[in-house]
Symmetry: none
Subunit: 314 residues, 2 copies
């Protein structure tokens, strides 16, 4: 490890990054809460130390040089790491306290959160979770940008290279209007029964759409043109007789109560998704999040059991 004095400071890196972001010394100085001359001076020192011009500036505008681009990219990385370190320090007093920002996809949030928040409040009374609901890809981008600490989504989606902790499997069931021939049978549903049946699916961008679609096209079902933007809408339309659909079992308890639906489980191989908590690799929250996953898993499996019971009643 190099123990020699570093020729630059974290503060200087922040200044450089701020200027690169706003292409303005004044604006950057304002955001960094220093005067513009101070910022100018620090950047001058930094350029001197590096022996490289980072910014091309005249009296009307600022541009980042080729060298500047490379260096500032790296500076951003370092600053993110320092933020992580701060975060780590803050948490190391008490890992599961403070505020955690967690993303969650819509087809999970409505059904899991009500029960989960209660369990979390009980397990970690000093922890506040800020839930952010959006589609998988948006959440993953926010996660990467450091705007989220973790995200709760389906493992089957394209989630890239992230750390993960599995909460549990969520099998899909067949939902049909009451009185529909497919809903009448008592045996588990076979994929082959879906051949040429009209199914309704979620709109583009919802990962549950992709997962259900994969199964349906394998079964040679026929997708109707209309696409719902939430599972609730989907359930309403099915109840209205527009067609049949797949629902994650997680949603059944709520949706079958709101709308008149017949629910049948599928025979092996059961289509399913795997609910998972994901976070950045090398996140300082790693161990805390693993602990959190255990708590979520416990709450989820309790919910599953109750759902199982509810299903038997129907």
């Amino acid at each position: 490890m190099n123990l020699g004095a570093h020729p630059f400071t974290l503060r200087q890196l922040q200044y450089a990054v701020a200027v690169a972001e706003w292409l303005s010394f004044r604006k950057a100085a304002e955001l960094c809460h220093v005067s513009q001359p101070s910022l100018s001076a620090q950047l001058a020192h930094m350029e001197q130390a590096f022996g490289v011009r980072l910014f091309e500036r005249d009296q009307r505008r600022v541009l980042v040089t080729a060298a500047g681009r490379e260096l500032i990219k790296h500076a951003r990385l370092i600053l993110r790491e320092t933020d992580d370190l701060e975060e780590l320090a803050h948490r190391s007093r008490d890992p599961l306290s403070g505020t955690l920002r967690i993303g969650v996809i819509p087809t999970i949030s409505s059904y899991l959160l009500p029960r989960l928040t209660a369990a979390l409040r009980k397990a970690y009374p000093r922890l506040t979770v800020l839930w952010v609901e959006d589609k998988t890809q948006v959440l993953l981008r926010s996660l990467e940008a450091g705007m989220l600490d973790a995200a709760l989504l389906a493992l089957e989606a394209d989630i890239g290279d992230v750390e993960r902790g599995i909460v549990g499997p969520d099998p899909f069931v067949l939902a049909t209007p009451v009185g529909h021939p497919l809903g009448a049978k008592t045996s588990p549903a076979m994929a082959s029964e879906l051949k040429d049946v009209s199914v309704l699916l979620l709109d583009d961008g919802h990962c549950f759409r992709e997962q259900a679609l994969a199964f349906c096209s394998g079964a040679k079902a026929h997708e109707l043109e209309f696409r719902a933007t939430s599972l609730s809408t989907l359930a309403q339309m099915v109840a209205g007789g527009a067609g049949v659909t797949l629902l994650p079992e997680l949603a059944v308890a709520v949706e079958a109560k709101r709308a008149e639906l017949s629910i049948r489980p599928f025979a092996q191989p059961v289509p399913k998704r795997t609910i998972t908590l994901v976070w950045r690799k090398r996140s300082p929250l790693d161990s805390a999040l693993r602990q959190l996953v255990a708590t979520i898993r416990a709450a989820y499996s309790r919910t599953s059991n109750q759902r199982g019971a509810a299903a038997r009643v129907i």
Copy 2:
């Protein structure tokens, strides 16, 4: 990006890492070239800022706490990154390394780049050039906006107030279908021969169109309605007997090989364009780019000679 002041410094991280490594304040202070009290004071500040005790110390020994282990692991990572940044700065002191974004017009790129990239790789092995192909006016706007570092184009176009380095002249030649009366003569072509001849030209927006058009209208030639979008298309159409055209000599070697063309040079005054590298005034890359121009010029004149040889064979 968090722009708030960081509660710690890189120096403090070094101190902490050194202590963790040697489990001794004195030894660590010595290696960091500071007095032991200075190091003690900084670590005390750091622990205060973090709100966590990093070291368990009494007068006979030093131990790293559980929190300290985590934090110092992360601190090591950050210090490695800062070393990388320093290294990066050191390398970028050599302006002709890293990535340069250079624009180039289509009537140059296809013919010059294959040879040029090889020459550049050889001359500047640590330089990566990202070539961006577009029309002159688009390139100049990108250059002005800082999205490009330089652009390779024809001096004869309207290029505004930019810094420039001339690569070399690119004379135009007369290209006719094989068997065309204008192609039969062995003497250099006169502008007057083009009177009332049907010529094909590039589409609007290509600067080569403007340059060729200036010459042709001076010669009272007659432009056919059809306009090609690339020199290759143009050559194909001429070979097909649709008319005659002007080609930059740079393109002859490639195009005359693909299509059956007769090529004649022009008599004085030879119509031509001047291939030029341009960049922003006051760009910090100025001296590097002048050096680059010299390299490009060398590669271009070698290409010219070979093209001269090829032309004699035809």
